[in-house]
Symmetry: C2
Subunit: 464 residues, 2 copies
């Protein structure tokens, strides 16, 4: 499929490794961004050869009109960019998509009451089908708010992957692992992780990490095994680290070190790792994260909502850590809307540090896109609007109160947009949402199934 | 006009002074909520007599079917509530609506650079027409995100009132006052405040407070004059207090006391006062606010964005202070969407206090509605869905990812909704928005004028 997006305000990478806004025409062909053409520059990729094989010759720039005429002649769809903004899709780097059916079922509770009193019993009663519909609801919400890739940790293999395949979304999946040394529980989950990965070989929108849940559910010997398995299989690692004060205290008691030091010494950090939360970290922890090239996913809403506090994100960024952004699951956020998360990211640290000059809108936008691509080992293929990259694109309506005036749209995305400005979503070169209608999913059917789960579990009778 | 909203999930006041969700049929007649009918209760107001004259007899409950049949026969419009939620409109208790045209023009700047480097020069170049179009954009954004009343402080008399009259919105207006003793600057602004009030006598959606700007722009003698004028004219007072650490330091130097103590001793607090910000307050300050029945408007986004920090809202609530919610102006927020502000209110204090059990969704919702009504001296007429109150109502679509499942919708409003769920808005008994189309304003014309202002001021050429 060939799509041309003509004369649109586009968020393009700048020379400083950040983003700028420029009027552009963008051509999508066979899943790839084939061309990005601005007044100043014309970059065309050879989609037949390889995504990274750019052609940026003077000659082509001179011939861009001929190229565009031919592209228009052969296009399946031409989108007029007037009054619109084009951006790379957000990358939600930490969520549990199945949890979407648990939205608003366990709010304003202390952590223990939340997890053991409410969430765990629901998880125990959850079937594979429930997890599948939960993942569908999550993907629907993410797509409608401009996310084109997410990093998921889940408990029911084949269910998130099934929803991803059908919906056209892109995702990185980890089967959550818990284990002690080489016990059967851990070994069984590792086998499931590989089984799930192998069963999804036909879908190149899916990739797989290993997901040791956390140091309080995986002992050091098991973390060691996971690190070895990760190296053997060339898979990244997705883990929860240093989320609550209790976690740190218990880790200090059991191992005499912080969760981050434990992850380092168990070999986890010798592998490409994406660590969720990192709320309570010492200066030594931050030095380890930087030294071992660990990517940190910050989850501002979830960390506040569960009473864990604020991660020292500005400090980690200053230390050179790759920080990316995630929503966590809907049971502890309760939204998977990355606009909401970006707004929190760019506001709360200004409050904590009592400085207005901290995580600017541009920095926040980079964290929500490029940094996420890097964390998921896809920096060469997603995260920005560049010729040769996969076409994961979002088109917004800028004729909205929230983005008016139109003079500083990256600030608008961080501080005033709410996600409903997203009109069209393209993932892997295919239009999955048009004019706010998701083409690849049955919205009414998802709502019907979600309410059925809630009713079956008696959660609709509960007094909140 | 008579409107019937049938069989809708409605947020109704409960016995504890908070809110609950119940299936209801609501009848609106001549601007008033004439009836709220649930399975358990039937309350009908006599709209011809007085808004507060309730009729709640056993007899009427028995005859409710006859009442409903007659109401349906005479209704101008019947709205089917299936898949919808009815709530009282949000009350935005502190904003500067004209500033909406300055959205995203001055971000990530230290306070001095923000105010003196960017905002003040724009205000100096601003005409009455600019202020009018700014107010229009602000009202459009508020209406589309479920706000039905706002409390405004402004500099160009007749402009916000003009936009309020035309749009069908409800508002409380203060002409910002600055002055030293009985100087002409202060006297002139007071005359303007009265002139504006008198010119708007024909619109009962408008009411007026006196707006001494802040202790750093009004000296003690002028505050004293304003307090006396407020008593003479039976007007409430709207003031900025204790927003930044610098303000407190300067006040201590100049007067030897905190801004809140200064407001008390100048007589301001002997009048019904709504105090914006109150970020940096002592325990003694909180005791004064409680003792003098001052309402505090908290503005979480603005306080973070300008680097002022977090107001001790849970502490003020525990002390019994009436806390309400405001967005502040779009130059320092940058959105007037109260869903965003409610989300911040219910999240950030959980982070600051490291406790999940702090400002629940229900408490937050009350703060954003009932407490606002009280602060604006309208607790008997707006802020909840009750027979006899003015019909300021918002209908939301609950078949959205953000509100799915539908089991705990007040939590949904605080934690997962983004405002785009709002479908229909009724203010003073008139439908101002239907199916997300604002019927009372020309959206395209507003955008055109806003972009024209930005262009005239050269703000579209600025590099952000």
């Amino acid at each position: 499929m060939k799509i041309i997006i003509k004369n649109i305000q586009a968020i393009l990478p700048d020379e400083a490794g950040s983003n700028k806004i420029e009027k552009a025409t963008v051509v999508v062909n066979q899943g790839i961004i084939e061309a990005v053409i601005t007044d100043e520059k014309c970059v065309i990729a050879d989609v037949k050869d390889a995504a990274t094989n750019y052609v940026n010759s003077e000659k082509l720039c001179i011939e861009k009109n001929a190229y565009l005429t031919e592209a228009e002649r052969t296009a399946d769809k031409i989108i007029d960019g007037t009054g619109k903004l084009l951006m790379p899709g957000f990358i939600n780097c930490h969520t549990h998509s199945y949890m979407a059916f648990m939205r608003n079922v366990a709010d304003d509770l202390a952590f223990g009451d939340w997890l053991f009193g409410t969430i765990s019993p629901i998880e125990d009663a959850m079937t594979d089908e429930d997890a599948y519909w939960g993942a569908n609801l999550a993907i629907l919400e993410m797509m409608k708010s401009g996310t084109t890739c997410f990093n998921d940790m889940q408990m029911n293999i084949h269910q998130t992957t099934r929803a991803v395949k059908e919906s056209g979304m892109r995702a990185v999946i980890s089967r959550g692992l818990v284990g002690s040394g080489n016990d059967e529980a851990g070994a069984m989950r590792l086998r499931q992780a590989y089984e799930e990965r192998d069963a999804a070989k036909d879908c190149d929108r899916l990739s797989f990490f290993l997901g040791p849940h956390a140091p309080y559910t995986c002992d050091e010997a098991f973390l060691n095994i996971v690190a070895e398995e990760s190296a053997k299989n060339d898979m990244g690692i997705h883990i929860h680290l240093s989320e609550s004060r209790t976690e740190i205290e218990n880790c200090m008691k059991q191992y005499g070190c912080t969760p981050i030091e434990l992850a380092r010494r168990s070999g986890i950090f010798d592998r490409p790792t994406i660590a969720a939360h990192c709320v309570h970290v010492t200066d030594e922890d931050i030095a380890i994260l930087k030294d071992k090239n660990v990517s940190v996913v910050t989850n501002p809403a979830s960390n506040m909502k569960l009473g864990n506090g604020f991660a020292p994100v500005p400090k980690m960024l200053n230390a050179g850590v790759n920080v990316c952004l995630g929503t966590d699951g809907a049971a502890s956020n309760n939204t998977l809307n990355m606009f909401h998360e970006l707004s929190l990211l760019t506001l709360i640290h200004k409050g904590v540090g009592e400085t207005a000059q901290c995580i600017s809108a541009k920095e926040g936008f980079k964290i929500a896109t490029m940094n996420g691509a890097k964390a998921l080992r896809m920096e060469d293929s997603i995260g920005s609007v560049e010729a040769g990259k996969k076409a994961d694109l979002v088109i917004l309506n800028t004729n909205t109160p929230s983005l008016m005036p139109n003079n500083n749209l990256i600030a608008g995305l961080a501080y005033s947009a709410n996600g409903s400005e997203v009109e069209t979503v393209i993932i892997d070169g295919k239009i999955t949402m048009e004019n706010r209608t998701v083409l690849t999913m049955d919205e009414e059917k998802i709502y019907f199934e979600i309410n059925r789960i809630i009713s079956r579990m008696g959660l609709d009778k509960k007094v909140y």
